[in-house]
Symmetry: none
Subunit: 222 residues, 4 copies
DNA sequence: GATGAATGAGTCTTCATTCAT
DNA sequence: GATGAATGAAGACTCATTCAT
């Protein structure tokens, strides 16, 4: 287990450097000097640089995969939104806690390899598929409007990624606050709810802002 | 002009290769062999590989910058949503028309250089700021719910990016369809509008159709 | 003759640049941009860069060769020292007038080519041989001490080169002053003549500095 | 020490090649193939080609610097000429022993770099200054004729350089013989001493053996 | 296991020279 | 003759990986 400890130590240092400089600007010399090991030792624990990087990437990916659960419907199951919220809390808290892995995933997980690129893309596709499934469920339950849930799911995924990317670097951010914003946004968009509660987009009630909403969420073109 | 034509030719080929393989896996040999020019010729038109890449990147960035207009409010100005839609149409149609540049921007614009990275980040921040400004405007006009518009703006930006990234490679997407999905999603989220104007979720006022979404868009925990 | 004028123009500009930067740091682009001609035009007048450089070098070399005359002895011939002085005046005045060529010869005429190197070396050897011949003549006439005239000749040559190199860059220097210093030095070295006018080196007369000269120009070891 | 041995090995081979071909015609491939090392190994020990060359150059320069001592005057100090001789013996024996470095210094130490060029020039200027100081001392002691000691010092320096350059390649020169020739030449020039103490040439005092050299070391023209 | 010296394939970049217009 | 775009050989340097100790 000494072996595992060493590996972990190197991974820890490499993680930090990869997060900061990305894969290509990080060289093995950086890693070993930070980790305080010899060049040869590095290759005792990792097949090569790419292998180490891949391991870090798979670490995030699998941690995240574990944290995203399929929504369950049925008697006795928690409210779907609660399930969403719980998913988000698990994901976001991990991402914010593991800022370096997050940075690697969001900023440096692209462009070495068809293989790694695909791996990441597959992960995102899986997440998007889960989101889409939830949406489809919502549509079935008439809770979600009947739109292109595939596009929706990627929009939500992208929103989450970008918010996390934005929030991540700047020190401490409240997981809950971020989750609520994402959740609200994903569910309701930006519009004030009372302006929307009429059939169709843009047929807003006349609210207190005297009819101008009509011109804001105006009629769709299509 | 002969000169400009040559440059354009090289840019065209390089664009394709960079889009496919990214910056690091693309070498000058790839570019020149595709472009059918000699090694020296390349350096006649570009200072170096990075310079060429930067030019492509700045091309997208500046084209997009031009296409995103600040919303204007006031008598005689078009409906804000129309302005949003117009922005989106300009942006999305460009991105879908310039698939390769889009790929470069979305997948390969990170990790060589502090400088280039910053340039891209600055661009995105500018876009997010424009979005946020529109949202703030909406809040003032009581059309947008009063939430963290900064986070919202990044969520929207991220949504757009991810949808474009998903839709771009297939090449079969209609600009209008994509724009409408994004717009609807951004404005109203996923929920059926008539379910929203209820207590519990987010900052919603107490609307008239209380409680129907109770089980799905249920009360926040915090 | 238009052709010769063009050539001369290019040579003039190239001369200045070569003098300043040497052969290797000077590139064809430097020369043509200074000379205001196109790249191709350069090769209309010169076979290549080396050819141009060689021409400049041969220009100095042949000018100098012409200026160094064999000493003539015999009734009616001028005093040998006058002949030396005249040689020096011709050489030095040329070198100081043609500072750029001088710089090229003294600082940048080495290290491209066995051939050019040899050419320069041959030139210097020829000059040294002429000097040696003068010295041998002097020895015959019992005016020059009987030493290794070959070494002497190179010492004189080196002295001249170094003095010219030192004097050359700093603007105007009097040809006559330089010539006299060289001549005096070459003929008499540094010692005060009256301390030497005794047989053998180092058997100085007791001068006004009370005998310490004896210890200064002390007895030779060999 | 293993490291130093390797460095020394590379330096040794590089020295030989640089001496033979100069800086520009020598490429890294030459050096490594001679040294029997791989390309990468070269850069393990030297930052780049210039760095290696600079090191060789500084090696000669500093060895020589150490070997040239300021003349000391005062009771108990050795005879000044002995000190000169000792300096020369140290310098010349080093230069003849290190033929390759000598070649590099004398033939290939010019024209890559303002910086290196300056370094060499500074070295020569320092040596010339030391020589000048000795001469000034001699003037004070009335042992050296009162002439432009600055020019004299460069003349002496140049003489030494040229003699060494001439003598070095053959490899058959005796240090002592060369030193004596240089010393005699520097001190007494070429003239037979007994002919010098006459009016007419240079700054000679009127000595007792007036006029015998009249026809050879005749009156100056100016 | 650990070390770090050695490796060499891979890339970029320069620049003298050519040649079609 | 003049031009300047194009050429490509030559060379420097990097860095992930190997291997003898």
């Amino acid at each position: 287990m000494q072996r595992q400890a060493r590996r972990a130590q190197v991974l820890r240092h490499a993680k930090r450097i990869f997060a900061r400089k990305g894969y290509h600007r990080t060289n093995v010399a950086d890693i070993i000097s930070r980790a305080g090991i010899a060049r040869g030792t590095f290759y005792l624990y990792f097949e090569n640089k790419r292998d180490l990087f891949e391991e870090l990437l798979q670490q995030v990916v699998s941690e995240l995969t574990v944290r995203v659960l399929r929504l369950k419907v049925g008697p006795g199951e928690p409210d779907p939104v609660e399930q969403l919220r719980a998913n988000l809390v698990r994901v976001v808290s991990y991402l914010l806690a593991e800022r370096e892995l997050t940075d690697i995933l969001l900023h440096h997980s692209t462009g070495f390899d068809r293989e790694l690129d695909d791996q990441i893309q597959t992960f995102y596709d899986r997440v998007a598929a889960l989101i889409q499934r939830s949406l489809d469920l919502g549509v079935q339950m008439k809770l979600v409007r009947d739109a292109d849930t595939r596009i929706m799911s990627y929009a939500i995924l992208g929103g989450i990624k970008e918010v996390i990317a934005m929030v991540s670097p700047s020190g401490e951010a409240s997981v809950d606050a971020v989750v609520e914003e994402i959740l609200n946004f994903g569910l309701t968009g930006v519009a004030r709810p009372e302006l929307l509660a009429s059939p169709g987009l843009g047929h807003a009630h006349n609210g207190e802002n005297g009819g101008r909403a009509g011109s804001f969420f105006g009629p769709k073109l299509d």
